[in-house]
Symmetry: C2
Subunit: 302 residues, 2 copies
């Protein structure tokens, strides 16, 4: 079962209390791919500039990531710079140069269109809609977005939400989408707009899966040495959708485990800058940590 | 198995976006008792002024709470006033009048000294030490404290920590106690100082039990209508210790369930002001919600 991701590819300059990297590969599509490809083949659609060094993401090819959908345009690759404060929960954006990403218009190669699992990473919802219209008959579509689109392209975003199966959001996005500070009734309301499941990301506090059957709470795996939180959300999405693709199931039980796998892969990526950590672990490392996480939630009745 | 609690008894004036109460019964000892007494008899030690109206806590007597240890002193009862902002996570203290609580020196009645489960609510650590020296042979001692004592009476507090079995703390207190921002290694360090278990309270994000056997994560029960968070921490402690006393067990499995029961009873208390909610539920309501919470953490492997 293959996965399609459409999103950004960036060169990130990141400063944290523990170090700094310059022009390191990043962006939602790559973080997602690095995570999802532990479990299933991934097809990537995105755009880079002529300056992009494919050597830096060579490890992805070895993990069954198809990069045919990467367009190489005249100009420079999207660049983002940010700095994290000591508690790592807040970041300051130092610069954003969209470069070739500014005019990104996803072209889905013919052989990608039968992908069964689709991740619409955080891009313009009009482009997300276009992707949904292009793919043939996906089994599960998952959407990420951000405040910028919620306020700036509300109508298109609502249309995408209507059409996807799973919406991944954080507290703040839920509030902006519904106008309600009551998290759980807001989540219930979002489920009436189309998606069959909501995943509420809470960073170090884990994630909540909300479906019509109820709530499922997953803690975050306890990570002692967070070096760089960049990409954690897209890595979460990659672990989540990768797991479902590997099982080729969208049952409620598998959705719960998918949240655990999302949390697990995200717990690795933050332990180093860029893809350094994800490059050096195997799927067995992921399974081991997922089992540890499940054990930390296990309780016998009485 | 009976429980002893030593702590404050207050008349609280609380304002939240959802209402206001004036001179409502509160304080750590009463919140703890209201919660623990769902499960086991509770002996309370504290002090009130001549103005205290015992009618207001009459419901506690019917739940097997022994109030013989309440001293009635000349003067006024401890009063606290606070206001919660819209997100309910931050509160402003409007006034604190210690009144008779200022000279509180716990006298443990003879028939309380065989209590098997002890909760040292947040009071001067020197008084907490005195309590520990007075009780005979408790099975489990649980300690709560706050920043004020961590910075103000460090030596006495360290001595108490050495002698108790379970330490209940929040993130900030862990940082102050250890000087470390690394939550998990800080928790491990605290376990070397005496306690066999640490409970890290994270409010709406649940609680973590840390023992030498590892971590156990409990989510908070999803409460939609938080009206007043006052007393949630002491109510958590009451549910936690009450459950253990009812089972008369301090096994790791029971400690995990105790965290779930702490979270559960706390989820009720915040749904109304003062004891309004705890007055009107039964232990069966608590069991039902605890079962729901356990179901929200349950996941089948694969």
């Amino acid at each position: 079962m293959s996965i399609l991701v459409v999103g950004s590819i960036a060169l990130d300059t990141v400063e944290t209390p523990f170090g700094k990297v310059e022009d390191s590969p990043g962006g939602s599509a790559l973080y997602f791919s690095a995570a999802a490809s532990f479990f299933a083949p991934v097809n990537v659609v995105g755009v880079v500039g002529k300056d992009f060094d494919f050597e830096q993401i060579e490890f992805l090819r070895h993990r069954n990531v198809d990069l045919d959908g990467l367009m190489i345009e005249d100009g420079l690759t999207f660049r983002w710079g940010g700095r994290y404060k000591s508690d790592m929960n807040r970041r300051v954006t130092l610069f954003t140069y969209l470069n070739v990403f500014e005019k990104f218009s996803p072209q889905i190669p013919e052989h990608y269109r039968d992908s069964t699992y689709i991740f619409l990473a955080n891009i313009d919802p009009e482009l997300q809609l276009k992707v949904l219209q292009t793919v043939h008959n996906p089994r599960l579509t998952v959407l990420d977005t951000m405040n910028f689109w919620i306020s700036g392209k509300r109508d298109a975003l609502e249309e995408v939400i209507k059409r996807v199966d799973v919406l991944i959001v954080n507290d703040e996005e839920i509030r902006e989408l519904t106008g309600s500070v009551r998290l759980y009734s807001a989540a219930a309301e979002l489920l009436t707009r189309g998606p069959r499941a909501l995943v509420i990301k809470k960073g170090e506090h884990g994630a909540i899966l909300v479906t019509k059957e109820g709530y499922f709470f997953s803690p975050a795996f306890p990570v002692e040495n967070v070096m760089d939180p960049t990409g954690a959300g897209d890595t979460f999405a990659g672990g989540f959708l990768g797991y479902l693709a590997a099982k080729n199931s969208i049952s409620n039980g598998h959705l719960k485990n998918a949240v655990i796998y999302g949390s697990t892969v995200a717990s690795f990526v933050v332990e180093d800058f860029s893809f350094s950590r994800l490059k050096n672990i195997t799927v067995d490392d992921v399974h081991r940590r997922a089992n540890m996480l499940r054990a930390m939630m296990a309780v016998d009745v009485e």
